[in-house]
Amino acid sequence: MIRVEGLRKSFQTRTGRVQAVDGVSFAAADGQITGLLGPNGAGKTTTLRMLYTLVSPDSGRVLVDGLDAASEPTRVRASLGVLPDARGIYKRLTARENIAYFGALQGLDARLITARTEALIAALDMRDFIDRRAEGFSQGQRTKTAIARALVHAPRNVLLDEPTNGLDVMTTRSLRNFLLEQRAAGRCVLLSSHIMQEVARLCDRIVVIAHGHVVADGTPDELRESTGCANLEDAFVAAIGSDEGLFA
């Protein structure tokens, strides 16, 4: 369960201050997949970064399973599995070693790491490259490894920043099924995307962000209803005010 209340964050850039996130509030429930949809530069990544305490908000707060991220950052990070925008893996380690490293950092013992890794290998279809060094991995293999290492500690909350970026159709499919399994297991899954077909297809609840604001929030049906549009695509465009950057 993730609750976000009135998050604001601005950055100093060379050309002046940029208000990246400007009052974002939403909730992501357990057993649901929640999608953060918005064009590039809408503030999705910055919002997620505040969730996993990499960036601290100027104001507002983040609650993960009732824990305040500002006062309990370590426990909040421990209850999250994060696939950040940056998903580099260690090239000189094998996929298995990459996963085991993060398992150890999450405080798991070796036996548990082995068991969880086996389960993730099956779920993400990683058998044929699991013991190869990551040097020369395809984008799909890298993303799978990054997802496996993010979830090796079986976190109750899963954050994924643009998880299908750069993946081929087959990998996207297996990732989608994997996320549905996570939902079935009662996890709280929060993913960001700028591809509305993907969000429409996968998410139980959609939070539409544009220019640092939440412009719409609800189930796909609610979104259609509130915008008065029969199809979701039109509903998104109506909510955001333009169709800029929403098509894959």
Binding site: R49, Y52, L54, V55, S56, T74, R75, R77, A78, L80, V82, L83, P84, D85, A86, R87, G88, I89, Y90, K91, R92, L93, E97, Y101, F102, A104, L105, Q106, G107, R133, A146, R149, A150
Partner: protein, 392 residues
């Protein structure tokens, strides 16, 4: 603590799978340093042997004016060469180390008992190249002069001691270990430099490289405290450089076993206790280097930017060594508290087999570790900056 160990182990595993890094740390450096030192040593030994014992090649201007002197010189292992056209130029261009000119009035002066002039032409700005040769020629000329002088006194019935009111003797108190200048000047610097920036590749790779390869953000998203992460990266750097230094020192000893430093007598030939002392002396420098490099890598926006600062860091350990080379001073206690300067003095003492008191150890180690702690604190602050992971 557990997390620190996990990160440390992973960083070392990562480093030991980097062939290029291994090649530099465990092959190139351990080969290069002993080769340079042993090579220079062997060269300078051979040169000194030649200058002291080999035939002295000496162009003589006007050799025909002093046949007895020339014969005497030839009897003393001097090979007399024809005079060059321009003696000054020949010496200045190092064509000859030294040229002897016999004055035109030599024969006449000699016969009439007046001091006869000879002139030694040499270049004092090249003491290393020609100093020994010039001194040797000077000694030979003095010898000839005093032999003839003694004979003249005896011929006049005067005891030769009359002309020698003073007898000067010298006693050199240097121990064999202390006499070897080369390793005393170069080795401390090389050791300190290696200790300080020997881990540069690992340190920059572990922070700036990790960020550039986009794996720092996932790492920071784990519950592990940043202090643990940075400490582990610093320790991994330190362990790696210590191993590299150990291999280098072993290679150094082997090199001197193969290329004995004959002629210049004892090279640095420490017993195990001396090696241990050297290790203990440079340990804080290794930690300081690892911490400074890690802080630098956290501060720099990219791998390349971090590398751009390296020449500056190379210069740091050089400063005290240069100072001591130019103006050798007596060691005072406060110097031991200054990073690099203190270690330099301590290393020289070990090389000279001098005793180091408990107080000296305390001051040197205490001060260095205090500096390490301060830089560690700065590095940890840098690791807490939001830009660390987000500005890539």
């Amino acid at each position: 603590m557990r997390a620190l160990w996990i990160v440390l182990r992973k960083e070392l595993l990562d480093a030991f799978r980097d062939r290029r890094m291994l090649l530099v740390a465990f092959v190139v450096i351990p080969l290069a340093i002993p080769l340079v030192l042993a090579g220079t040593n062997a060269l300078s030994a051979r040169k000194q042997m030649q200058q002291l014992e080999g035939p002295l090649e000496l162009p003589v201007i006007g050799a025909e004016r002093a046949p007895n002197l020339v014969a005497w010189l030839q009897a003393h292992n001097v090979r007399v060469l024809p005079a060059p056209r321009d003696a000054d130029a020949a010496v200045r261009t190092q064509e000859h180390d030294v040229v002897l000119r016999i004055d035109e009035e030599y024969g006449e002066d000699w016969r009439s008992g007046r001091p006869a002039s000879v002139e030694v032409i040499f270049d004092s700005s090249r003491p290393l190249a020609s100093g020994a040769t010039v001194a040797r020629l000077g000694g030979l000329l003095d010898g000839y002069g005093s032999t003839v002088g003694t004979l003249r006194l005896v011929a006049r019935g005067i005891h030769p001691a009359v002309a020698n009111p003073l007898q000067v003797g010298t006693r050199d108190v240097a121990t064999p270990e202390a006499r070897f200048d080369l390793s005393q000047q170069i080795l401390p610097y090389l050791l300190l430099l290696l200790a300080f920036i020997g881990g540069m590749q690992l340190a920059i790779d572990a922070t700036a490289g990790e960020r550039e390869r986009q794996s720092l953000e996932p790492l920071l998203a784990t519950p592990v405290a940043r202090e643990s992460i940075i400490s582990a990266k610093i320790l991994a750097t330190a362990v790696f450089s210590l191993l590299s230094i150990a291999v280098t020192l072993i290679a150094y000893r082997l090199a001197f076993a193969i290329v004995p430093a004959r002629g210049v007598d004892a090279s640095f030939d420490p017993e195990p206790a001396g090696l241990l002392q050297l290790f203990l002396i440079i340990l804080p420098v290794v930690l300081l280097g690892a911490t400074v490099l890690t802080a630098l890598a956290a501060f720099a926006r990219s791998y390349r930017e971090a590398q751009a600062y390296l020449p500056l860091l190379m210069f740091l350990p050089m400063i005290p060594s240069l100072m001591l080379m130019v103006a050798p001073v007596r060691t005072q206690l406060w110097m031991l508290a200054v990073p690099f300067l203190g270690q330099n003095q301590m290393i020289v003492r070990v090389l000279r087999s001098e005793r180091i008191s408990a107080l000296d150890w305390g001051v040197s180690l205490g001060a260095s570790f205090a500096v390490v702690a301060v830089v560690w604190w700065i590095a940890a602050r840098l690791y807490h900056r939001e830009q660390l992971a987000t500005s890539s």
